[in-house]
């Protein structure tokens, strides 16, 4: 195994929109910048598969800016530990890479929230973003019957994308009621850009049944999903499908921030207006500071990039955008709040922790997250609680604990290599 070592004035973790913006701005300020991502190419989840020639204007713009910047792209590489302050360790295809930094910007993005319901562990029940990612990376979805269920704007975007790839998108079931969506729509109306995006989406989704106030209660099938049971306050029915794509809005990836000792508040990384976390020299931008979408991520990334590179005046130029987008973020949170009917979906026999196959009935007997971990191994598998943690928090109100190295499973020799001081 080869170990290599690099050092940067500003190191950015995560090459989604926030990270790309941060890296570009920091590099523009003339300091030595590195940007790490666990995917082979920059773009994050939202711009997965996009290139500099993309017809998604934002994506093409920023990917071009990044490519022409002096920021060094380190990918694919997965950060798993910080053996000492100022030095991260990451796995790459040829061993462990040590990444020294003076300033760090965490742009670790978000993942989908999954809620357990009977049948959710069947093959072909996937995340909405998950199915989209797989299609973007080469899977053929043409002609397949797809039902999307869950919550949040991602469902629509994914529905449109899958349809463009020939999927037979039958139904989009959004758990939030129309009343909240309409209020959210009015908030959008005050933003030209968001509303035009929404209208475009609507066009691409014409003739797909979009149901608000509708949620999945079960998935059925033998060996893989074959049908889905949906419910509104008025009725319950079953629909056949080849794929069920579901996601209940997003949860931030805060494991690295936790590992580094950054303070969280309400599950998000707390930052000052320059995006600096409670740990001096460690900044955070994008979804980990609050689920706010693309524009907020980019604004925060720009602020963090300039601030970390010592150009606070230039960072301040984006305060207005940051503030206005945060209002959108709050509207988003209100609109897609999870309804209480989603809590009792799991039965005693429903698996909650998919790594260790821990059932809801056993978890119900526990007094806390720690007790659940110790007595049932919930959250003790390789995903380290990333999937069951947010579900358990929604179901029982238990909060996950602090992170420990490695924050992703790594070979024993890589974990051992974390301290090879010179």
């Amino acid at each position: 195994m080869n170990n290599s070592r690099r050092s940067f004035d500003v190191l950015v973790v995560g090459a989604g929109p926030a990270g790309i913006a941060a890296a570009c701005c920091a590099a523009q300020a003339g300091v030595r910048v590195g940007i790490v991502d666990n995917n082979a190419r920059p773009g994050g989840q939202i711009w997965r598969g996009e290139t500099q020639d993309s017809n998604v204007a934002d994506a093409a713009d920023w990917l071009r800016k990044l490519a022409s910047s002096r920021a060094e792209i380190l990918a694919p590489m997965e950060v798993f530990a910080q053996p000492e302050a100022g030095r991260l360790t990451a796995t790459s295809s040829d061993g462990v890479c040590e990444l020294g930094y003076k300033k760090l910007i965490l742009c670790t993005g978000a993942r989908e929230r999954f809620l357990p319901f009977p049948g959710w562990t069947l093959p072909n029940v996937m995340g909405a973003g998950g199915l989209q990612a797989v299609v973007k990376s080469g899977m053929d979805i043409a002609g397949k019957k797809v039902i999307l269920a869950g919550s949040g704007p991602l469902l629509l975007a994914v529905g449109a994308h899958l349809r463009a790839h020939g999927a037979d998108v039958r139904t989009i079931a959004e758990q939030a009621p129309w009343s909240r969506l309409i209020r959210f729509g009015m908030a959008l109306a005050s933003r030209g850009r968001k509303i035009s995006q929404a209208l475009q989406l609507k066009k691409r989704l014409s003739r797909i049944a979009f149901r608000a106030g509708c949620w999945v209660v079960a998935a059925e099938g033998d060996g893989k999903v074959e049908s889905v049971t949906l419910r509104t306050v008025h009725k319950t029915w079953r629909e056949p499908c080849d794929y069920l794509a579901c996601g209940f809005h997003l949860v931030p990836n805060t494991e690295l921030a936790s590992l580094l000792g950054c303070e969280l508040r309400g599950g998000f990384v707390r930052t000052d207006e320059f995006q600096q976390s409670s740990v001096s020299g460690i900044y955070c931008a994008g979804e980990p500071t609050g689920i706010g979408g693309l524009e907020l991520s980019i604004a925060e990334g720009q602020i963090a990039g300039f601030a970390a590179a010592g150009q606070r005046e230039r960072a301040q130029e984006y305060f207005g955008e940051q503030k206005s987008q945060r209002r959108f973020s709050m509207a988003l949170e209100r609109a897609f709040m999870l309804r209480d009917e989603l809590r009792p979906l799991a039965s005693a026999e429903t698996i909650v922790c998919r790594c260790e196959d821990v059932k809801f009935g056993r978890l119900r007997e526990q007094s806390s997250w720690r007790a659940a971990k110790l007595q049932t191994r919930c959250g003790m598998g390789p995903c380290q609680g990333r999937i069951c943690g947010p579900a358990v928090e929604f179901l029982f109100g238990w909060k996950a604990e602090s992170a420990r190295p490695p924050i992703f499973p790594v070979a024993v020799e890589s974990l051992a290599a974390t301290a090879c001081a010179e």
């Binding site: 007094s367 420990r404 490695p406 024993v412």
Partner: protein, 375 residues
Amino acid sequence: MRAGAYDVVIVGAGIVGAACAWACASEGLRVAVIEADIIGGGATGAGMGHLVVMDDSKAQFALTRYSRSLWQQLVTELPGDVEYESCGTIWVAADQEEMEAVRQKKEFYETRGVPAEMLDAKALRMAEPNLREGLAGGLRVPGDAVIYAPCAARFFIERAQSRGAELYLPRVVTGITAEGVRLNDGTVIAAHRVVNAAGTWSPMLTPGIEVKKRKGHLVITERYAGFVKHQLVELGYLKSAHSMTTESVAFNVQPRRTGQMLIGSSRQFDMEGKGVDANILRRMLGRAAEFLPGVNRLSAIRSWTGFRAATPDKLPLIGPWPGHENLFLATGHEGLGITTSLGTAKLLVDQLLRRTSEIPIAPYLPSRVPESVHA
């Protein structure tokens, strides 16, 4: 139940406190267990969970052998989630000098009725093909086992509860008095006897007892069923366990029933922080790879630390605390609390009821004058 009705209040629901609660309740005593956090949340949950006979001293041998026999009697009653695996231990000898020590160890065990089997280099390779070539051999102790200790502690508590014991959780004891214990909300729980089974927290409740925190690190892997078949320990383990001042690591790998490998071990004194120390991790994993090169390629999913309650002479404190008529101790089990929990509980009950124990109690009494560590 009316205040003052308890015969015994046990502070701490780690595996030792839980076993004591079960033993006391089984004798018809009215028992309360008070736990500040969760069942098995301290060293019980952080440790490896081995049931081993150890020969660091004659007294340690006597207590571990006694306790292991109590575990063996219990096997059929243990619920599935205790994950009892009678995998046995192999003490691995790196060279001929260590093989000589293996011979002595075998004789020591066998003359005391504990079966043990010498393995030469070839037999060791047959038993554990993933060990590196060139090792001299080892000693197999087939009666040793591993368990998942937090569920064992819960099982003991459930048994105690079925015999009338009451569990107070989460409730924090702030002081032990002549009347019983005082909780942080001012409540007094009255009892004739109090057992301090609070592990590393025990000195906070009973100033003057010689229990210090000894930090350990562990790493667990993904599932690789059959990668090793026995608990593997380097013969030098006791040397590591002995060093009282410095930090030390030793090769100790356990196969769990899940197929996961649990990799240890490390010992550090005077460390308060719970943080994972990258240098200790490197040394500990490096040591494991020296014996078991293939471990390097296994996927590690988690590392953590915990604290053992260590005494200067490596023996637990079991019995009355001199000068305090109502106070008993069951603490200071260092890295052997899982194994010795059942023996400790028996000895403690014998002390409470003023009976003679099946093994001599003197080496474990808190009033003892420590003998030489090398028995």
